[in-house]
């Protein structure tokens, strides 16, 4: 028996406002003008592995299908080569929209637990904050321990080769003025907390108003 699956999205699957939220982010505004030509999907070297093609992700985003895009493999398979961005006839910065969607998926914790790409992104983030620089072999080791220890075993040969070719630093790189960088990052944290509380406050106030009627 062939398993039947609904292929069309319903109105009830939408999260109204999602598309607008994304399109209000600096760099993502042009999405509004997408003509669904499919140039992005045709150019993308990784689209053959994606569940939704880049063109579909653009439309799903614009049409508020938040769950579908944030759970798609597409956003994680984007390797940021910018091929779509430079060819888009409507100058939509597709790569930057993919970045925006990745950020939202990480922020909401919507990705399979051991899926290595978002884990790598977050470990990279942590290491660059903690040390100011990233030492790739340490980062890779952490990544494999956190996602797939078996794959780490498959990497022993690569590790050994890197050591024998003098490409495996044994010392963690770092900057001197970590406190300076830390203070700068704290400013951004504070600003985004302010923004989030603003955002939360606004709908809550609206809700109360409606309740009063």
């Amino acid at each position: 028996m062939i398993e039947l699956k609904r292929t069309i999205k319903y109105e009830s699957d939408r999260v109204p406002g999602f598309g607008h939220e994304v399109m209000s982010v600096p760099g993502c505004e042009q999405l509004e003008t997408c003509i669904q030509c499919g140039t992005c999907s045709g150019l993308c070297p990784l689209s053959i592995f994606m569940d939704y093609t880049p063109r579909q992700v653009m439309e799903l985003t614009r049409s508020d299908f938040k769950q579908e895009v944030l759970r798609s493999t597409t956003i994680w398979l984007c390797a940021s080569c910018y091929a779509c961005t430079v060819e888009c006839p409507k100058q939509i910065r597709i790569t930057d929209i993919m970045y925006e969607l990745k950020q939202r998926a990480i922020h909401e914790g919507i990705y399979p637990k051991r899926f290595p790409i978002p884990v790598l992104a977050q470990e990279f983030y942590k290491m660059s904050h903690k040390h100011g620089r990233v030492t790739e072999n340490f980062l890779a080791t952490i990544l494999f321990l956190k996602t797939n220890i078996l794959a780490a075993i498959g990497m022993w040969r690569l590790g050994l080769n890197l050591i024998t070719h003098g490409r495996f630093p044994l010392k963690m790189e770092g900057i001197k003025r970590k406190d300076e960088l830390g203070r700068m990052m704290a400013v951004v944290d504070q600003l985004s907390i302010d923004k989030l509380t603003d955002r939360r406050r606004a709908p809550a106030a609206g809700g109360n108003g409606q309740g009063g009627h």
Partner: protein, 308 residues
């Protein structure tokens, strides 16, 4: 000629051969580099996936430090660093809301940035500032007979094409021709190598890299020349894994079109930095150029007597 120099994390780690060869080559050409004081990670592609504004703040700290120094032009050899630093400059220019956050953060670090730091790539500097005639003058061992596939990768021409054509960049081709190499046609010169996917999702990531190596072999290249530490790593270090998956595919023999040959059990084609080839042509010792760090050794064609 003097530049601030932003090495980036890779050039101190897996890509140190790029730094070694770049420093040597620029020294020969009389370019002085001053490593940016206390530089921090640019954020690359991975950081952008977590927080794009913070990524710009990280990058702007480097721009601000560069602006403080005497030589404001910032040389960024790594493609990811080059792109992120330029992208941050674009955001500062285009988006007042992002600029406001960045300026506030810089102030907290007692730094300022007025927007006056040009971020330059070594290819740009070599061809457009120093110039090919000057480079030709330094050649003592022309790499005659060496067939090269010049691979640019994504991020130095996309999304911003600051110094070369976005669709068909030629800076590296011209540079390598000037030192005697023969460039094979390589239409995949700006195709994606898979970036960090090779480490996270091998099936799609390695396929991207494999396609690039296969094409270079099919075009009859002796060596692939790269400009990016991640491209070099992907094409050079995952060779065993690619060979394990696809190494026995048959392709037309570069020497005889009517013949079919396997791509090769080990995909044996060296992948080097363009600066290493320049260094060889300048007569610098292989070891000082970090050539021993490549997984597949580069064998040069025998030196042709006299006449350059």
């Amino acid at each position: 000629m003097k530049f601030s120099y932003f090495p980036g994390c890779s050039l101190k780690g897996t890509g140190r051969a790029y730094e070694e060869s770049l420093l040597q080559v620029l020294q020969v050409l009389g370019v002085e580099l001053v490593e940016l004081e206390d530089w921090n990670c640019c954020g690359a592609t991975a950081y952008m996936a977590v927080d794009e504004v913070k990524a710009c703040v990280m990058a702007s700290r480097n721009l601000a430090i560069a602006e403080k120094t005497g030589c404001k032009q910032l040389l960024a050899p790594c493609s990811a660093c080059y792109l992120v630093l330029n992208k941050t400059k674009h955001y500062l220019h285009e988006s007042p809301s992002v600029e406001a956050v960045i300026q506030k953060a810089l102030k907290e670090g007692h730094l300022t940035y007025g927007g006056n730091v040009p971020v330059r790539h070594p290819l740009d500097v070599l061809v457009n500032d120093i110039g090919l005639p000057e480079i030709k003058k330094r050649v003592v061992r022309p790499l005659k007979g060496l067939k090269v596939a010049a691979y640019y990768g994504c991020q130095i021409v996309r999304p911003y094409a600051a110094f070369d054509d976005q669709y068909n960049p030629t800076t590296m081709d011209r540079l390598l021709e000037a030192i005697g190499c023969k460039l094979v046609p390589y239409p995949l010169k700006t195709r994606c190598c898979g970036g960090s996917l090779t480490g996270t999702l091998p099936e799609p990531g390695l396929l991207c890299s494999y396609i690039l190596l296969k094409e270079a072999i099919k075009r009859g290249a002796d060596v692939v020349s790269t400009v990016c530490p991640l491209c070099q790593f992907n094409l050079d270090c995952y060779r065993d894994k690619m060979a394990g998956r696809w190494g026995h595919e048959m392709i037309p023999d570069p020497a005889d079109r009517n013949n079919q040959v396997p791509v090769g059990p080990r995909l044996d084609i060296p992948v080097v930095y363009f600066t290493q080839l320049l260094g060889l042509a300048f007569g610098l010792p292989e070891k000082s150029l970090g050539l021993q760090r490549g997984f597949t050794p580069l064998r040069l064609p025998p030196v042709q007597t006299a006449a350059a």
